[in-house]
C-alpha cells in the first residue's frame, strides 16, 4: 500500500485548522497541524509534508511571509508547494502578487477564506499533480 499524501496545515485560528483538517481527512489525506509558524517549521523538518496550507496573517503579521521564505529558500523543502490562505485579501485593498520578488512572497497558490471544501480539494489536487510532473 502506497503511503498517504501528507498535508501540513499552519494557522493560528483553531477553527480553520480543524475544519480544513476535517475536509482533507475525509478525502483520505494524512493531515498534520501547527498553530504557529515556529511549530510549522518543526513539523516540516520532522515530517516532510507533500503540501503546506499556510495562513498568511498569523499573530505577528509577517509570520506567514517569513514562514514561506524559510521554506522556499531551503533547498530541502523548496519543492513543497505552499497554498496560501487568507481572510484579508482584496476586500481590504491588499493585493498579493504571486510573482513579486524572488522568494519571500513566493507561494504556489492563494485562496481567500472562507475556502469552500470543493475549492480546497480542487486546488490541493492540482498542486499535488503539478508537483509530480
Amino acid at each position: 500500500m502506497k503511503p498517504k499524501t501528507k498535508i501540513l496545515l499552519v494557522d493560528d485560528d483553531m477553527d480553520f485548522l480543524e475544519m480544513h483538517k476535517a475536509v482533507l481527512k475525509n478525502h483520505g489525506y494524512d493531515v498534520l497541524t501547527a498553530s504557529s509558524g515556529h511549530e510549522g517549521l518543526e513539523k516540516v523538518r520532522a515530517e516532510m509534508p507533500d503540501l503546506i496550507i499556510l495562513d498568511l496573517m498569523m499573530e505577528k503579521y509577517d509570520s506567514g511571509f517569513s514562514f514561506s521564505k524559510e521554506i522556499k529558500t531551503d533547498p530541502l523543502f523548496k519543492k513543497i508547494p505552499i497554498l496560501m490562505v487568507t481572510a484579508v485579501a482584496e476586500a481590504t485593498g491588499y493585493r498579493f502578487s504571486l510573482k513579486e520578488d524572488g522568494y519571500w512572497m513566493k507561494t504556489d497558490d492563494l485562496l481567500d477564506k472562507p475556502v469552500m471544501p470543493d475549492v480546497l480539494l480542487n486546488r490541493v489536487e492540482k498542486l499535488l499533480t503539478e508537483r509530480k510532473e
Binding site: A22, N26, V88, T92, M116
Partner: protein
C-alpha cells in the same frame, strides 16, 4: 443741474452792493452783501461762496488783509477786487495775495458780469482740477496699499508660497516656505532655485512646470518629503503663471504641511485593515463550518456535525462581542455627549457584577472575593461605563485564571484618588506583552491563551473609560503568578 453760484459783495457803499445785486441776480446768481470786512468774514465762515467781490478801501479791516483772511478760511473761493483808486501797484499787490481779478470803479454792469462769469469759470476749472488731483492721489495711495497688502497677506500665510521666474530663479517667497523647506534663508532674490532649496524633488517639480511649454497647461500636485526628525510631508501645488499670448512667465508653488494628515491616514488604513481582518476571519470560520456540514465534505456522524455547528455558533458569539466592543469604542470616542455623569456607588455595582459572573468562575472552581472597605467615597462617573469597565477587568481575571484560582477585588483611598484593584492568581502577562496589552486588538502572542476567546479590545475599552473619567489604570503582572489591575479615580 449745476447749483446757482453764490456771490458775496463786501463793500461799505450800499450803492455798490445794491448795484451788484441788481446786475448779477438776473444772471441767475444768488447775491449777498456785507458792509465791512468783519461782517464779510463772518459770512464767509458761515456760508459757502463761490466768488467774492471785495472793495479794497473800507473802514476797519483793509481789503488786502481781508483777502488773506478769507483765503485762510476758504482757499478755493474766487476773489475779485473792486476799488475806486485803481493803481497798478494795488492791483499787483492784491493779485499777489491771491485775488483772481481786478475791477476798477466805476464799472458798468456788463463789465461786472463779464468779470464774474470769467471768475466762476475759473472756479469750475479749479474744482475739476482739484478733483482730478485728489483722484490721482487716491489711486496712488490705493496702489501702494495694494502692494503692501499683498505682501502682508503672502507673508502671513500659513501655507508656503514660492514664485520662480522663467529662468528658474526665485523672485517671491514667504517665511512659511523657508520654514517648511528648511531652507538656508532667502536673503536675496533672483538666485537659481537650487541656491535656496536643498530638496531636489521640489526643484524638479517647479522646473517641470516651467518647461511644460506655452501650449500645455501643466499643474503639479506632489507630496514632498523633507528630511526632518520626524519626517515632514508637504503637499506642493505648482501652477504656471501665464502672461499675454499664454506664454509662461514663471511658476507659483503653494506648500502645505500634510504630515498630520498623512499620519491620520495611515492610522485609518491600519485600523480598517485590522478591523477587516478581525471581522472577516470569524465570519469566514462560521461560513467554513456551515459549509462543511451542508456539503457533507467533512463526513462525520450526527454528533460530529452538531459539534461543528456549535463551533460556528461559538464563533458568531465572539463576532457579536467584537462588534459590540467596536460600537462601545465608537460611543466613547463620540465623547462626553454620550456620558451621563452622576455620583456612583462602585461597591454595590462591583458586587452585582461579581454575582453575575460567579457561574462563569464556578466552571473553573475559581473563588471571587470582594474585599471593599465600608464608606469608600462615591465617584462622579457614568454608571454604564463603570459596569463595562469592571465587567471587563473581572471577566479577564476569571478567563485568564487557573483552575481553583482566586480573584480579589480591593479598594482604598490614596491621596485624592480612590483606587480599585482587581487581583488574580492567573497565568500572568510576560513583560514584552505587558507593554502592548492596552493596544487595539492586541492579544498576547502566547500559546497559553490560544483557546481563550477575546476580542482584543477589552482593555482598550477599559483604558478609554478610565481616561475619560480623568483617572488612570495600572497593571502589574508576573508570569504564572497573576496580574493586578488598579484603576484610580479622583473624588
Amino acid at each position: 443741474m449745476k447749483t446757482e453760484a453764490r456771490i458775496l459783495v463786501v463793500d461799505d457803499e450800499q450803492g455798490i452792493r445794491e448795484g451788484c445785486k441788481r446786475a448779477l441776480s438776473p444772471e441767475g446768481y444768488v447775491v449777498d452783501g456785507a458792509e465791512d470786512g468783519k461782517i464779510g468774514l463772518q459770512k464767509v465762515k458761515k456760508n459757502a461762496y463761490d466768488l467774492l467781490l471785495v472793495d479794497l478801501m473800507m473802514p476797519g479791516i483793509s481789503g488786502l488783509e481781508l483777502i488773506e483772511k478769507i483765503h485762510l478760511i476758504d482757499p478755493e473761493v474766487i476773489l475779485i477786487v473792486i476799488t475806486g483808486y485803481a493803481t497798478i501797484e494795488t492791483a499787483v499787490e492784491a493779485m499777489k495775495r491771491g485775488a483772481y481779478d481786478y475791477l476798477p470803479k466805476p464799472f458798468s454792469p456788463e463789465a461786472l458780469t463779464a468779470v464774474v462769469k470769467r471768475g466762476l469759470e475759473k472756479r469750475t476749472l479749479r474744482q475739476e482740477a482739484k478733483k482730478l488731483y485728489e483722484e490721482r492721489d487716491q489711486r496712488l495711495l490705493e496702489l501702494v496699499n495694494e502692494r503692501s497688502r499683498i505682501r502682508t497677506i503672502i507673508s502671513c500665510m500659513a501655507d508656503g508660497v514660492l514664485v520662480a521666474n522663467m529662468e528658474g530663479r526665485l523672485v517671491l517667497w514667504n517665511a512659511a516656505s523657508v520654514k517648511m523647506l528648511k531652507s538656508r534663508g532667502f536673503d536675496v532674490a533672483g538666485e537659481p532655485l537650487e541656491y535656496y532649496i536643498d530638496n531636489q524633488s521640489m526643484v524638479d517639480a517647479i522646473k517641470e512646470v516651467l518647461s511644460a511649454g506655452d501650449e500645455n497647461f501643466l499643474m503639479i500636485s506632489r507630496e514632498i518629503e523633507v528630511e526632518t526628525d520626524p519626517k515632514t510631508v508637504l503637499m506642493a501645488n505648482i501652477a504656471p503663471i501665464r502672461g499675454e499670448m499664454r506664454s509662461i512667465l514663471g511658476a507659483v508653488s503653494v506648500l502645505r504641511d500634510i504630515t498630520k494628515l498623512k499620519e491620520i491616514d495611515k492610522i485609518k488604513s491600519q485600523f480598517v485593515s485590522m478591523v477587516a481582518h478581525e471581522l472577516r476571519a470569524p465570519l469566514a470560520a462560521i461560513k467554513g463550518w456551515l459549509e462543511i456540514v451542508i456539503t457533507g465534505e467533512g463526513d462525520g456522524d450526527a454528533e460530529q456535525q452538531k459539534q461543528w455547528l456549535q463551533r460556528a455558533s461559538d464563533r458568531s458569539d465572539s463576532l457579536l462581542a467584537l462588534v459590540n466592543d467596536l460600537l462601545e469604542i465608537n460611543r466613547m470616542e463620540a465623547g462626553k455627549i454620550a456620558q451621563k455623569i452622576e455620583p456612583v456607588q462602585l461597591t454595590d455595582l462591583i458586587k452585582k457584577i461579581v454575582d453575575f459572573l460567579k457561574p462563569e468562575a464556578g466552571k473553573k472552581e475559581i473563588t471571587v472575593e470582594v474585599k471593599l472597605p465600608e464608606n469608600l467615597p462615591l465617584i462622579q462617573a457614568d454608571q454604564r461605563d463603570m459596569e463595562k469597565l469592571f465587567t471587563n477587568l473581572i471577566t479577564n481575571a476569571i478567563k485568564y485564571n487557573t483552575e481553583n484560582g482566586s480573584v480579589t477585588i480591593e479598594g482604598k483611598v490614596e491621596a485624592s484618588f480612590v483606587c480599585y484593584r482587581v487581583k488574580d492568581t492567573g497565568i500572568g502577562i510576560s513583560p514584552e506583552n505587558l507593554t502592548h496589552i492596552f493596544d487595539d486588538f492586541y492579544r498576547a502572542d502566547d500559546d497559553r491563551i490560544k483557546k481563550i476567546t477575546g476580542t482584543g479590545l477589552g482593555l482598550t475599552i477599559a483604558k478609554k473609560i478610565v481616561n475619560s473619567h480623568h483617572g488612570h489604570i495600572e497593571v502589574e503582572s508576573k508570569v504564572e503568578q497573576g496580574s493586578n489591575f488598579s484603576v484610580y479615580f479622583p473624588f
